[in-house]
Amino acid sequence: MLGNEAVARGAYEAGVRLVSSYPGTPSTEITENCAKYPEIYAEWAVNEKVAMEVCVGAADGGARAMCCMKHVGVNVAADPLFTVSYTGVNGGMVIVCADDPAMHSSQNEQDSRFYARSAHLMMLEPADSQECSDFARAAFDLSERFDAPVMLRLTTRIAHARSMVTLGERREREIKPYQKDIRKNVMMPGMARGRHVVVEEREKEQAAFVETSELNRVEMRDPAIGVICSGIAYQYVREALPEASVLKLGIVYPLPEKLIREFASKVQALYVVEELEPFFETRLRAWGISLAGGKNLTGLQGELSARRVEEAFGRETAPLYPAQETLNRPPLMCAGCPHRGPYSVLAKLKMHVTGDIGCYTLGALPPLSAVDTVLCMGASIGMSQGFARARGREFAQHTVAVIGDSTFLHSGVTSLINAVYNRTGITVMILDNRITGMTGHQPNPASGRNIYGEPAPEIDLAALCRACGVNRVVTVDSFDLAGLEKALKEETASDEVSVIIARRPCALLDRKSRKTPLKADPAVCRGCFSCMKISCPAIEKRDKHVWINPDQCVGCGLCLETCRFGAIGGGEKA
């Protein structure tokens, strides 16, 4: 089972009733798998903050609940996170956050263990799929035992690795009784002060508990080397240093001080091997425990591997064949992708683009090179307001905030209201492909269906923007290059806030509009290569002409509009 499937399985066996999440690699499959169990109500929330709040409500209401997100999602949900630590829960609540060391699919490498420490929440970290399931179950029990949410931390190599899992039965749980209790659940200063005391007491109890919990495990082998590690780092250590003694931490916060001291006293040289930040190391050093090595050996960036651990410990590593000179192959927008049209026009008009996160971030790469900034989900619309205020009208009239439908609903709409309210005359372009594409096609409120594929109310983005006070809202087909150009020129010229909705379903889902491949006639092609500016993977430069790769082309026809000589033709209904 995939680690993520196993988390879903563990939660299922623990009797979870509700799962609310926002997609994000590498966490997405947990929620998708939860939706396969009829006993669980699963949903895609509009963002992580909402997901967590739905979970808190369900847990307060007495049910076991879980929300899953990628590491940066916890930033979005940090507000409820820090205070649900005060209120506690009723039914068990588990927050899964999936970190992405090496940034396979992320914009930063933050280490979410710090959240557990700052919010005073217990955090577990599994080291394989079996533990994903076991720890998910344990997390629910611990959440109820300590009346607080428990965080479950994964990393990409745990979430997206498959290993064997033994299945158990689901234990159905009664919904716990609900009692209104404002001292516990209404966090205004007077009550929160009281709850802060509870948080500290609880943390002491948890710190005592972790000393003897079987989730932490000492494996004594040769006492010459002792390593403290958790999660995937444990696997690398076992592989690289098979003879070493290991303290494997299943609970990464709070840390078992006594157990660590005891382990330290039994080994001759103590090391910490952990990915990303020196989280354990700093704590150990603060306790005055002397270390023979930590981050000075393994480094702060990227992923570890068994080989990196071997190198760090000066072990012999397998000899390598020499790396060959080769070409990079970065990801690219698919043939027929509806994001291509808007970007080719933005590039043509030499607009500044404050960008956002999604498949359309790929428009930043050459040859389109159409994006100036990408920060975090939803930032495009706020940043364009800052640019407009800092650099004035002229600049604002050459700037467009570009954002996807899922991202707009996640955290763009509040920034749009900000622009209207403060009269910052920006231009926003929503790339509305009706789906959350980047993370693997999860439906969102613009899709017209829910996580189960059932029909769901389809939000009217144009009406939403108007309701926010935007007077200038135009909707254009993403393949209508002339229409897009006209709209962009008109809307950027306006001093008012305006929104252009470029609309067309994702090409990977829109099988209906597929056509047979197009052909470029070499007798007519003049070799101006205008069609190549749209950066389509199906259009290749062959000597003095272009050639359209029939294995790639989906007949979308965008290139037809770019050829002044009518050299491209074909494309029948497939």
């Binding site: 690795a161 068994a306 080989r307 397998a318 020499p322 192959r329 970065p330 990801p331 040859p367």
Partner: protein, 197 residues
């Protein structure tokens, strides 16, 4: 069987499915197995690498540089990229398809010439036109099964269990054509071996 495999290709070529079939095979054999997959960004036409480790008592789900007994490469440039993963004395099974990266499509770079020869100078290479074999079998997208067929024959394994593993992973509607591609890959290896004497 103890085997570390690196599977590399271009997003959309079916590398994930290949790794799942090997995972199912190990399970059928009662062996321990770990598979590491890549989801997300790189699946959009980027270079995709997955790792399969079969044996007993496996710790890391990743195959390290210099650790692969076999590299299954679905494309020539990707085969070049994966060479450092190969263990000394290991074998590269290469589908000799060429998929141009964007830099070649736009004419900024040339597709490397003689990639397979360069590899052959370093290590043992079994290369084949897996795409044509897949097309003949009736499904161009079954390049992954053709390459697995080669691997099965190369290892001298009984195909029976492999068929079962394929059946576990592949949707039943596509099973027949996939098995056909698998057997075509197997036959290709056997015949070429015969030819090599």
């Amino acid at each position: 069987m103890k085997m570390d495999v690196v599977i590399i290709g271009v997003g959309g070529q079916g590398t994930l499915l290949a790794s799942r079939i090997l995972g199912a095979l190990a399970d059928l054999k009662g062996l321990d197995v770990k598979v590491s997959e890549v989801h997300g960004m790189s699946q959009r036409g980027g270079s995709v690498i997955t790792y399969v480790r079969v044996g007993s008592d496996i710790h890391s789900p990743m195959v390290d540089l210099g650790g692969a007994d076999v590299v299954l490469a679905f494309e020539q440039v990707e085969a070049l990229r994966a060479l450092p993963y190969l263990k000394r004395g290991g074998v590269m099974i290469v589908g000799d398809q060429k998929i141009n990266p964007l830099s070649v499509i736009t004419g900024q770079a040339a597709y490397p010439k003689g990639a397979l020869d360069a590899l052959r100078q370093q290590c043992r290479v079994l290369s084949l036109d897996a795409l044509s074999i897949a097309r003949e079998a009736g499904e161009v997208r079954s390049v992954n099964l053709v390459l697995l067929g080669v691997l099965c024959a190369y290892l001298g394994e009984d195909p029976e269990l492999w068929h079962e593993a394929v059946a576990r992973v592949v949707k039943s509607a596509f099973l027949e054509v996939n098995l056909k591609a698998f057997d075509a890959g197997r036959r290709h290896y056997e015949e070429s071996e015969e030819r090599n004497g």
